[in-house]
């Protein structure tokens, strides 16, 4: 099976060109990024599902990967620049995903998007979201919608429950399951007991009772040296942490209860913010501040002509909680996901920066977009056919060359194989060419070019 975009490569190129010009209006410059990068670059960022699809290979002892997306590579490029400058980059190119089931054979897709790195705040968030959404108008897709969530707000809500970072991550990753009527809280608690606490809670509590923990701690500390890159203190600290995980179960239940209320929010901005205002405790200043910023972003979107009726606010929108730190959003059209993005301020540090670098970006799922565009959206390019018998090949070549000099696209074809709908010229044995009822000699080239140039 051919990659999807190769079915209509011209359409893909035209869409890419339109989107390039659209993003250039916002000051985004095209950046070229490597197709092959160290695999770690993508492993740091990717969620579990993406990692399963990563193409990796080894070369000279280095683990490399075909890029599955552009964001990590763009952030890495910025880190390497070691600069405080604000950069606006847009990208366009093939990305690669394995197909674990092996059924489609469709391993590469066109990805188009942008990254705004070095700028924090609601203005930057609004710029990226509006640019992404308005791009659809530019290419003729008008029924788009944007769903917006906020990972930082959800983290702030969760922070009230005093969970450690791993338990917090566990809860955030299970927000979709909490909203799923077939799963819900019982499923999440089962997962917690099975995969995080490692067995039944009772059994675990028994195993990690204070006496056992102390005994094991003493055993660890009595050894003269440790192995495998960890210190005695780290091992001991984690033993204590494991005990704490068991103790955190009641807080997790409270947190899930609270998050169920947030999960129910999936509304237009006015209604959603009203509900969320009532959910944030008055004394929770940090969450109130984050919520206010979120509202401000949505207000800015109105200035960018993003109507409220095209917006949905959904605080639990999960796009890889592992590295998004603020706004997250998804773009849909005709019920299909056609893009998404978000803020990822901590990623630069993971890639070796000495500081966090504010960054927000998005990518279009170009193959989905191409599927949505009707084929007639883009007409075939104008092309003239010169039909010639073998004995007239020389004359045909001369005519073709002269017409191309006049900027007329020409292809040569044997008799009877003209393209459908293409103006047809026929070379005769006197080296003349006929177009319809008219016959031209080479000295009439300007008149012929003019006639052809006026063709619809």
């Amino acid at each position: 099976m051919q990659p999807k975009q190769s079915v209509h490569p011209r359409l893909a190129r035209q869409v890419a060109q339109e989107l390039y010009q659209h993003m250039a209006l916002y000051g985004y410059d095209l950046i070229e990024l490597p197709v092959i990068e160290p695999a770690d670059l993508f492993l740091i960022k990717a969620g579990d599902q993406a990692i399963g699809k990563l193409f990796t290979f080894e070369q000279h002892g280095r683990q490399l990967a075909l890029r599955p997306e552009f964001t990590a590579a763009a952030a890495y490029r910025y880190v390497q620049l070691d600069s405080d400058d604000v950069v606006r980059w847009q990208f366009c190119g093939q990305i690669f995903e394995d197909d674990p089931n092996g059924s489609s054979g469709d391993y590469q897709r066109l990805s188009i998007g942008a990254e705004l790195i070095g700028l924090s705040g609601t203005a930057a968030d609004a710029e990226i979201i509006s640019m992404a959404a308005r791009g659809f108008d530019r290419i003729g897709i008008h029924n788009w919608r944007v769903t917006i969530g906020h990972t930082r707000l959800m983290r702030r809500i969760l922070s009230r429950f005093g969970l450690d970072s791993r338990m917090e991550r566990f809860v955030l990753n299970h927000l979709p399951a909490l909203a799923d009527p077939h799963k819900g809280k019982p499923f999440i608690l089962e997962q917690l007991d099975r995969f995080v606490l490692g067995g039944s809670v009772l059994a675990r509590s028994d195993e990690i009772n204070p006496a056992n923990t102390l005994e094991t701690l003493l055993d660890v500390l009595s050894r003269t040296r440790t192995m495998g890159g960890r210190t005695h203190q780290e091992v001991a600290r984690r033993l204590v942490q494991k005990r704490q995980h068991s103790a955190e179960r009641p807080q997790i239940i409270h947190a899930l209860d609270e998050l169920e209320c947030w999960n129910a929010v999936n509304d237009p901005p006015a209604e959603a913010f009203k509900i969320m205002d009532s959910l944030v405790a008055p004394e929770d200043v940090a969450s109130r501040q984050t919520l206010a910023e979120w509202k401000q972003t949505v207000q800015l979107l109105q200035a960018y002509q993003i109507p409220d009726e095209n917006l949905t606010i959904r605080p639990n929108l999960a796009r890889t909680w592992a590295y998004y730190t603020g706004i997250v959003f998804e773009l849909t059209a005709d019920g299909r996901h056609v893009g998404g993005g978000g803020r990822y301020d901590e990623m630069a540090r993971l890639l070796g920066s000495r500081r966090d670098v504010p960054a927000v970006g998005f990518a279009y799922y170009a193959d989905h977009i191409l599927d949505l565009l009707p084929a007639e959206t883009y007409i075939s390019p104008f092309l003239v056919t010169i039909s010639f018998a073998p004995e007239n090949a020389l004359a045909a070549a001369i005519w073709a060359d002269h017409l191309r000099e006049q900027h007329i696209p020409v292809c040569l074809m044997p008799p009877g194989q003209a393209r459908n709908g293409s103006p047809l010229l026929v070379v005769d044995e006197q080296q003349r060419i006929s177009f319809g009822a008219e016959v031209f000699s080479l000295s009439d080239i300007n008149r012929l070019a003019s006639l052809l140039g006026n063709q619809p």
Binding site: R225, G229, H232
Partner: protein, 334 residues
Amino acid sequence: MSDNLLTLALPSKGAIADPTLNFLRDCGLRVEKPNQRQYTGLMPAIPNVAILFQRVNDVLYKVADGTVPVGITGLDVVHEHPHQDVLVIHDGLGYGHCSLVVAVPETWADVDSLLDLADIALDFRENHRQTLRIATKYPTLTRRFFHNQGIHHFTLVNAEGAIEAAPTLGYADIIVDVTQTGTTLRENHLKVLPDGIIIESQACLVGNRRILREKPAMLNTLRGLLEYIDGALIGRNYYQLTVNIQGDDAESVARKVAGNPVTQGLQGPTIAPIYGTQPDSRWHTVMVIVSGKKLLEAVEYLRDIGGTQTVVTPVRYVFMEQSPTFARLLEALR
């Protein structure tokens, strides 16, 4: 070269080299190596089989690239180097058992499972600013296993030789390696995670799918080889019992013997009258094949129905209507 000549690659050294020769000998397929320094040998039982000795990994590579059509290697090697032309013809030759396992330092008292290891991997990334380093000779299987377990932040350290020493020497944090008993790991202060068994391996017979499809004469030689192997492997599971039992006639003895599924044999008991010194002795000799696992149960049952003087002999071969492995191979080649 004759069309029906089948070259069989065998491991020349390593843990399964000698056991492979022993296994083939027990199947009645003794391998002759005219010169210890040569890499070729013969199989007198099937003259159309030529033997090529290769290192255990090279056996697989040679089968994969079609240099030889079939070979015996380890399942761990096959899974580590998947190749579309390599077909596992028999995945359980019954020797060379080992497990590919995840082992961590004993001093990691807080790590009892892969869940703990997932936590540690994140710790390394977030607090050590490096990834968990795993020393292994099995990068493909290790990578797939860890990703499937939700552990994504690690670096594979390719190592040969004494991998068990890697955490002590400091060039890796944990290891993934094959083990038979776990003794070497324990001696190196490593512990196997109970849920860290990546695959259970043993010796297996592999073939090149493309070549076997294209060369029916060679496939027919392979059929002979598989007849011996299947016959011997199936035969290992059975004993032949010969027992004397009294009864009015063969039919009544047969009914008694077949009264227990354990002594029903492969098709049923074979019964013959004993022509003893006394007339009307009513003794019959019963011959029946029983499963090795049920041997004592069978003997006791036969005693209960009056059996005596039970003689048990191992079964060298059981040839079914056709070699089951060859039937599966034909199916896979279709």
